[in-house]
């Protein structure tokens, strides 16, 4: 019998046995059932033996709780058949419950107030699980069902989804969790992925980010890395196909590096930091799996380089007066930015003897001269990574980053006659016609400078660039995260 048959009002109550407030109001539940009879439906999230009366509806699947978006138990919902939910209250507030139900002596013997407990739908990890089960998660990627005997790790290798190292199996729940890292819709197109030139959705990026081992909080950075790679200036297609060593190298700047725990310090370019390792890997897996860029297929690298597994690090931005790579490229210190450079390897610059900036710049220039080949100029760009100790020497000598760059450029100006083909009994070199010219080693804007590394060690380094640097091939690109 409905309390108010004219408006067809009914009530739904959601409880869980494990909640002391729900236990407290057990007599109230019985009182409500007496009053409303079939106009009250009680849903229990954890144990259908609770409450004793009336017999509750088993919601241990949490389907009803999820559909109703229950956040707190107990929650009492007033429903009107015409309009669905009219209003809801939660926790126990005697006066509120009495007003809400119109039962003046409801729970008269109980304390006045006791806050509720969290709904089971809000247990850790439950939201994604329920979204997968009952929600409209909008995932459209083909579901690959594994047979019982199949090893989940081996399946990923067998299907060609791996770069050679184990991947995290991309289960739907993991992909949904990854997608929580962005506000962007799974079905949004992010761009056309080379070399197969395939339209790619945020969902596919998420799947590959899962496989790379990313946490959801890295996902915006992964998305930005993909957008950077797809900028025409970067020439991802050509970079993938080249016989040269190069592959995307990622430098991350700004607050995001600390927020997601990236490493810019000790061993910044080495192993051991999950964010560094997996963000770089995610792009590589995406190019492989969505783009179809597989070594020996369209990836024709003669030797390749180990950075083709992953090559991603954060810049040390501890010196406020030293502009970051992103700032050199027009961004602000507070911007989070990822920059992609077509490069490879790491060439050390050891200098433990220099005590003047001029001397140190000579060491750096001498090493930079060998990028690609000491006799080839204006060919490959480079990133110079200045270690904190070397930066300190420059800074304590009063040199700015611009001073360092200018000193390097000046030091590298070379008479053409010294580096033309045949000079020094060496066939490689610059065209004969440049014999009488003064040559710059790097194109304008071809030498990029960043800082990373541990506080100890007078060791800087060079990431050498693709020999198709510049407009004819690849230029460094940046993307705001």
């Amino acid at each position: 019998m409905f309390l108010n048959q004219a408006t067809n009002t009914s009530y739904a109550l959601v409880v869980k046995k494990d909640c002391p407030t729900c236990a407290l109001i057990e007599p109230v539940i019985a009182q409500l059932a007496e009053t409303f009879n079939s106009g009250l439906s009680v849903y229990v999230q954890d144990d259908p033996s609770f409450p004793v009366a009336p017999v509750p509806i088993d919601d241990t699947s949490l389907e009803y709780s999820y559909d109703r978006n229950i956040e707190i138990v107990p929650t009492l919902i007033r429903l009107a058949s015409e309009v669905g939910e009219e209003a809801r209250i939660y926790g126990w507030d005697k006066k509120q419950w009495q007003d809400f139900t119109g039962i003046e002596d409801l729970g008269q013997e109980l304390i006045d107030f006791k806050p509720g407990c969290g709904s089971k739908t809000h247990d850790p990890g439950m939201d994604e699980l329920l979204a997968l089960r009952f929600g409209s998660s909008k995932l459209v990627a083909r579901a690959v069902e594994l047979a019982e005997a199949e090893d989940i790790m081996e399946v990923c290798f067998d299907r060609g989804w791996s770069d050679g190292l184990p991947v995290v199996p991309p289960t739907p729940i993991r992909v949904i969790r990854m997608l929580k890292g962005t506000v962007r819709s799974p079905d949004e197109l992010i761009g056309i992925i080379p070399p197969d030139n395939v339209p790619c959705t945020i969902e596919k990026v998420a799947i590959n980010a899962v496989m790379a081992g990313c946490k959801p909080e890295y996902f915006p950075t992964v998305i930005a890395s993909v957008e950077a790679a797809l900028q025409d200036r970067f020439c991802m297609h050509g970079l993938l196909c080249t016989t040269y060593f190069s592959s995307p190298v990622m430098v991350v700047n700004g607050p995001v590096t600390k927020q997601i725990g990236m490493n810019s310090g000790v061993n910044a370019l080495g192993q051991g930091n999950r964010a560094n390792a997996t963000i770089g890997r995610a792009l590589q897996l995406l190019i492989r799996n969505v783009g179809g860029g597989v070594p020996g297929g369209i990836d024709r690298a003669t030797l390749g380089n180990p950075g083709k597994y992953t090559y991603c690090f954060a810049e040390d931005e501890s010196d406020d007066d030293w502009p970051s790579l992103a700032m050199d490229r027009g961004y602000k210190r507070e911007d989070s930015v990822i920059s992609l450079f077509a490069g490879e390897g790491l060439q050390p610059i050891l200098d433990q003897q220099s005590r003047t900036p001029e001397s140190l710049a000579k060491s750096m220039a001498a090493s930079l001269r060998t990028v690609a080949n000491a006799k080839l100029f204006m060919l490959a760009d480079a990133i110079l990574i200045i270690s904190p100790e070397h930066r300190r020497l420059y800074r304590e000598s009063g040199w700015s980053k611009a001073d360092v760059r200018q000193a390097l450029v000046d030091e590298l100006v070379t008479p053409g006659a010294e580096v033309i083909r045949g000079a020094n009994d060496n066939a490689e070199g610059m065209p004969e016609g440049l014999k009488d010219k003064q040559l710059n080693k790097f194109r304008d804007n071809g030498l990029h400078i960043t800082t990373a590394g541990g506080k100890a060690g007078m060791f800087s380094a060079i990431i050498t660039g693709w020999i198709a640097s510049g407009e004819k091939g690849s230029q460094i690109v940046s993307q705001k995260i």
Binding site: L139, A141, R142, A143, V144, E145, L146, A147, E148, E150, I152, V155, C156, W161, P169, P170, T171, P172, V175, I193, D196, V198, C200, E203, K204, I207, N208, M211, C235, H237, G238, L239, T242, L285, N289, V290, G291, G292, A468, K472, G473, S474
Partner: protein
């Protein structure tokens, strides 16, 4: 022990590469126009010059094309131009 079945989401483009048939081969070069495409790799010109000489000596009409850079795919306009103007094309691919 219950063995739970597992589902993975396909990380690939889920594309079956469309199989493209080769165009019919020319049975003879008589009256044909052959395009020579230089992709801007070092010494591509020298290689194609030789081919040019050989083909011209055989009485074949030759047209020359250059890609702006080897590092990037050919512009669509260039592909279309070659397909309209030539019966066959020879590409100087590597250096």
């Amino acid at each position: 022990m219950t063995v739970q079945s597992t589902t993975l989401l396909d990380p690939t483009a889920e594309l079956q590469p469309s199989e493209r048939q080769l165009l019919p081969r020319l049975s003879s070069l008589a009256g044909a126009t052959v395009g020579l495409l230089d992709i801007s790799k070092p010494r591509g010109k020298e290689f194609l010059d030789e081919i040019d000489t050989l083909l011209t000596g055989m009485g074949v009409k030759v047209k020359r094309y250059i890609k702006p850079t080897f590092a990037r795919i050919a512009p669509t306009e260039l592909n279309q131009q070659i397909s309209v103007e030539c019966d066959a094309v020879i590409e100087g691919l590597a250096d």
